[in-house]
Symmetry: C2
Subunit: 525 residues, 2 copies
Amino acid sequence: MGLTGNMLIGGQAVPGTRDAIKAINPATDQVLEPGYPGGSREHVEQACALAWSAFDSYRETSLQERAAFLESIAEQIEALGDTLVDRAVAESGLPRLRIQGEVGRTCFQLRTFARTVRTGEWLDVRVDEALPERQPLPRPDLRQRHIALGPVAVFGASNFPLAFSVAGGDTASALAAGCPVIVKAHSAHPGTSELVGQAIQQAVAKHGLAPGVFALLFGSGVEIGTGLVSDPRIKAVGFTGSRSGGIALTQVAQARREPIPVYAEMSSINPVFLFEHALLNRGAALAEGFIASLNQGAGQFCTNPGLVIAIKGPALDAFLATARQAVERSPAQTMLTPGIFKAYRHGLQELASNADARLVGAGLEGTGPNQCQTHLFVTCARDFLEQPALQAEIFGSASLLVECDDIAQARQVAEHLEGQLTATLHLDEADTETARTLLATLERKAGRILVNGWPTGVEVCDAMVHGGPFPATSDARSTSVGTAAIARFLRPVCYQNFPDTLLQPAIQQANPLGLCRLVNGQRET
Amino acid sequence: MGLTGNMLIGGQAVPGTRDAIKAINPATDQVLEPGYPGGSREHVEQACALAWSAFDSYRETSLQERAAFLESIAEQIEALGDTLVDRAVAESGLPRLRIQGEVGRTCFQLRTFARTVRTGEWLDVRVDEALPERQPLPRPDLRQRHIALGPVAVFGASNFPLAFSVAGGDTASALAAGCPVIVKAHSAHPGTSELVGQAIQQAVAKHGLAPGVFALLFGSGVEIGTGLVSDPRIKAVGFTGSRSGGIALTQVAQARREPIPVYAEMSSINPVFLFEHALLNRGAALAEGFIASLNQGAGQFCTNPGLVIAIKGPALDAFLATARQAVERSPAQTMLTPGIFKAYRHGLQELASNADARLVGAGLEGTGPNQCQTHLFVTCARDFLEQPALQAEIFGSASLLVECDDIAQARQVAEHLEGQLTATLHLDEADTETARTLLATLERKAGRILVNGWPTGVEVCDAMVHGGPFPATSDARSTSVGTAAIARFLRPVCYQNFPDTLLQPAIQQANPLGLCRLVNGQRET
């Protein structure tokens, strides 16, 4: 198949009718063919009608069928080989090794959800058997399982053109839950989106699923994006992107006759706290580690360490000196799009023009277009506490270090933070009790707390939380990475006094699927 | 203590400063002393500040401590004895036996959540141990638990002055989750609210908890209600009441700088489907059962059967004849408040003036004030499908039967319904396959589906779902009755590479609490 410039709806390749989107290679500013004409409201209507008609059958596919379908998507993506890697590199400006790793992560994620689907734990089956002799009233037989919410609209992210895009975590978890998915492709990587969309479409066909299980649309934020979120057949939204974008979609979802959940992962500056003994004993290593994390993917990670908090003194001065050296030898890196590069420069200018933020150092200047030059600034806690602007996220390799007078002031800074995806503590054993005094605050602020690591690696596993209080996400009760992400697209239904023959296998009395269930208050395995 | 007319804030009895609310005995229209002066924004501020300061310590109480606290609340409520029952009967007009039953239900509910707290399953502990040798990158140690969202504002319902009010399901589940609770008392039963609030306050003191763990406020919807929901220290809302009230609170919560979840249980007409053979074989018993369910609590149940759907024919005519007799001998019953009685009469008038709804029968006329006279109407499916007004909830003993031409039209009616708390099927074995064709639709529409029962009984157990798609509730992903209600007030946090000494017991390596955990993808019990 290869690149055709078409949308994918109902198992067909469908040409758009609006202005064409073309990707730009950010490393060269070269326009990449083909063009992707945008869809219209009619295409939204068509995709939603098909998704709706596919919903009831898809959500009752067996655990085995659904898991095998997810595995087939992974196989189809792997089969794309260099075609996919070449295009993703061209569209994103990301290094080849990084894109290869991301293909692996995407496929691992799909297979992890396949494993999760098979265990059936996400069904959260609860059985309370009838108590016909109970006084004063008998208890009926009650059984609960979780079912899929309905068709889900997914908005891919710019910064992970595979792992957080067409077949990324939102799509994988929604499909795992039993929800048809309609993806609005990110305009920065339409070719990558089409290739991956074709892979999903092939897997849908291979497993004989209703073709409405998946669609891929191109087009404008208003016509396609708002169109999808306001369609009554869409029952949930997954989004990774800017704070303003996430808030706008949430408002559309709330203004519907039937409001729906929006899982928007938006904005985080990921505070890192450096404690006294850690700074004293291994300040130089910490500085090197910090700048390496800051520079990962040109700083274009949701979990980029954009804020460092430490207590002033000689150890911090030494840390800053090493960090400055590491910054100054940081090579410039191509950013994802000319627009993101422009926003990065704008953010830098804002911070540089702030009289209370001092530049510590800047990285090597770029030699090509759209290249991000690493920047590190420093400010004092008093100014940070007074100026909300100093908490603004700069998407890219820029970070701000906040110097505190003492641990009490560091706690004040922590309490003053907005919601975050992560918070990190660097500590030695002798810092343990000091660090402990920050934990209650950080638990209230962040979805994940790390000790002696860097936030930029996000494991795909059962225990991961890639989420956090607003504005990190629009729904702190959820994670968008890891197997618990499936819970976002489910709701419980209770069946009272049903004859066994009318029950789905998950909740039949004989437990034919061998699920781990809660029966009469006891956990059965 | 007894009735004092005061609010309860921070372990103190605090007099309000606004106009006094006085309860009215709906059976006599007699005004009940004392007056309850309303609180002001200062009282909201005080209660929120105390709740916030209590939050971090309360959410880390041990499972044993928290469970014992919930059990103490139940004991204190039981100790109120006839004082509580007398007042609740006077304020609600509900029969004494019903109120005694509701005291029992309330205490059972508190003890059920105590049991749930002790099991610790709600912590959903997940452990992924470090894999230092993994290629290409090692995996860090990752552990997840759930923590409380923060202080919760609870709005009690009018129709269950105990089980859905001050110490009802919302309060019990929020306290179980580790959230301090601020209740805005329902104006219809301030005395019942004060007595139960005192019971909670005594339990807080007995267990040496921070006094901000609980507060009870009286006052206006705007000053107290909106004041609470818009306070940045409130992190979730529990509400049971009208559709307009629930939507208004949701909008306040969404307009905050940091939007918060609102669990509003609002509006449901609880469709009941009568299938052919069931009608033929036991139509008379069904008619009697239906009217008994319709009359429970003067029809003032969220799960009242307000809509019946069946296929026309002699069996349905016979059902209607028996139902009519049962309606006509239904005694009038006192409604909860003069306002609810007025709204009921208004709803009846609307329906009676609809040319396409025909009155089947009316119950005995009332002899005292505020008495609900049972009403049954009938319409045809075509009119029901065309007129959204015929789906409007009438809170009280009124129901509408929809006559369909055939099962296909009954399915059309089902598909046309708004979201519901319940859907009920009455069927005989010979109806099984016909009923099966409705299930996919009903799962999408309702939180609980019943076979051969009536929706008005709502068990407090693990498998219960008292929830459903909008407008039944504002969040279909949740239940407000049963142990799963605790999940509404929790969010996941991940701890990466923590030394064991900094971890709470629930996620320490040795599993000192003996929890059922998911470790490296395997369920441990």
